[in-house]
Structure formats: C-alpha cells, structure tokens
Symmetry: C2
Subunit: 135 residues, 2 copies
C-alpha cells in the first residue's frame, strides 16, 4: 500500500490537503506536517509517520521547496527502502501522484513530475493573438 | 508598482502566503483569495483587487491549478491591461516572482516559470549511485 506525506513550512501542507479534499475527496492514507506552526520537532513527526507504515508499504513524501529545511530533513531518510521524496510540488502534481494506480512507483513519479511541469502555465500566452512578427 | 494575488481552492493560498512570509518576510502588496472557504463570491473578490490597483500598476495573479474554477474565473480578466495570470504555481515560483525586480514582466514571468520547473525534483534521483547500465 502507498502512503503519502505532504510536508511544508507553515500551513502550506494543510492548504494542499484542503484543496486536494475539495477536488478529489478525502483519502485517509494522506498525512501532513506543518513545520514551525507549533513546537513539534519535525524529525520526530517524520519518523513517527515512517514507523507507522508496514514493511511492504511505500511512503511518498511531497515537500514545498527544494533546499528548504523541511525537504533537507526528509533527504536524511532516503537511505531507507520504499521512501520516495519529491520537492517543489504544486497541486496538480500532488493530485496526479495520489490518484495514480501505476505499480512502478519510480516511473509513476517521474511521469507525474513531467506532466505537472506542463501545467505551470503563463495564461496570457494562451490568449494573445499572433502578431505580424510571427510571420 | 507590481501587486500580487494568490488565489486557490480552499486555504491553499493562505498556506502559500504563510510559507512565503516564513521565508522572505511579509510584503503588503501580496493579497490572497481562499475560494469556497466562506460564501464570498470569487468574482467580486477578484474585481475588488483589480479596482484597487492604479492605472499604471500591474497585477500578477497566481493560481493553484490550470483548469480549476479559480483559474478559469481569472482568465476572464486577461483582456484588461497589466494583468498577468500564472496557473499551477509552486512555492519556488511564487518566491521568485515576488522578489524579482526585472522590469520586463512578461519575460520575468517566463524565466521564473522555467526555473521553477527545474525545482520540481524527484530527490531519490539525486542520491542513487550510478549503476553499470549507465556506462
């Protein structure tokens, strides 16, 4: 079984979780860590989540930003089996990850990341008519 | 002057705003719309924000997901001058947009989007040793 953890600075993980619920409904296998909102030690929260998953389960951790303290802490757990870490997620990426049933997790994550990148869009470019310079 | 609006389903915009504050500090020119959290009509909130900016000002709207109802509503305002709309933002993109002093807004946004895409990272790929298949 796959478990999911959204971890961020402040309430961003809660915001992702709420938006996710609004769009696809609640999924009990998704947890969040909102770092620095209270005095909880982030490492302990991550380890608690890891301990709770079964030996044959997988955990996909999704963080707000590469190089941030939350992602840096999560990097320390990548030597453990069945832990996957994605940094810099947007909502489209989280949705595609949690609804995927693709059995090859690594390949699934890589595909979802490529698709999510296409969904970062400067919408003005979609509406501008082509000018004479284009000919 | 540039103004910024982060708009999302639910509390996600608030989460982005909080994380932004935690990383770069507060900026009064950033507003948020958390759609469907209460009964506020989203169109009225967007129009209120547009009315408040000066004739020579710019508004950069950043939404959670392309194709979502919030972004769809914002698309209706792209015929107005000085409004820019980006869909599918992540935290790195919002940070780079709001700290940029590049005067060419269109070019700045396009560059920030390309950079943000590079910051969506499958971190397991950074730690895996190269196997013989790579040679």
């Amino acid at each position: 079984m796959r478990h999911y953890l959204i971890a961020s600075h402040g309430t961003l993980a809660q915001g992702f979780y709420d938006a996710l619920n609004a769009i696809i409904g609640s999924k009990p296998e998704i947890s969040i860590i909102t770092a620095y909102v209270d005095n909880s030690e982030i490492k302990k929260l991550i380890e608690k989540k890891i301990c709770l998953i079964g030996a044959d389960d997988e955990l996909i951790i999704m963080t707000d930003i590469f190089g941030g303290s939350v992602n840096n802490l999560c990097m320390e757990y990548l030597n453990r089996p069945n832990i996957h870490l994605i940094a810099g997620v947007n909502l489209a990426l989280i949705i595609s990850i949690v609804i995927s049933h693709d059995e090859d997790t690594k390949s699934m994550i890589e595909n979802c990341i490529e698709e999510a990148k296409k969904n970062v869009i400067y919408c003005n470019d979609l509406t501008e008519p082509k000018g004479y310079d284009d000919f």
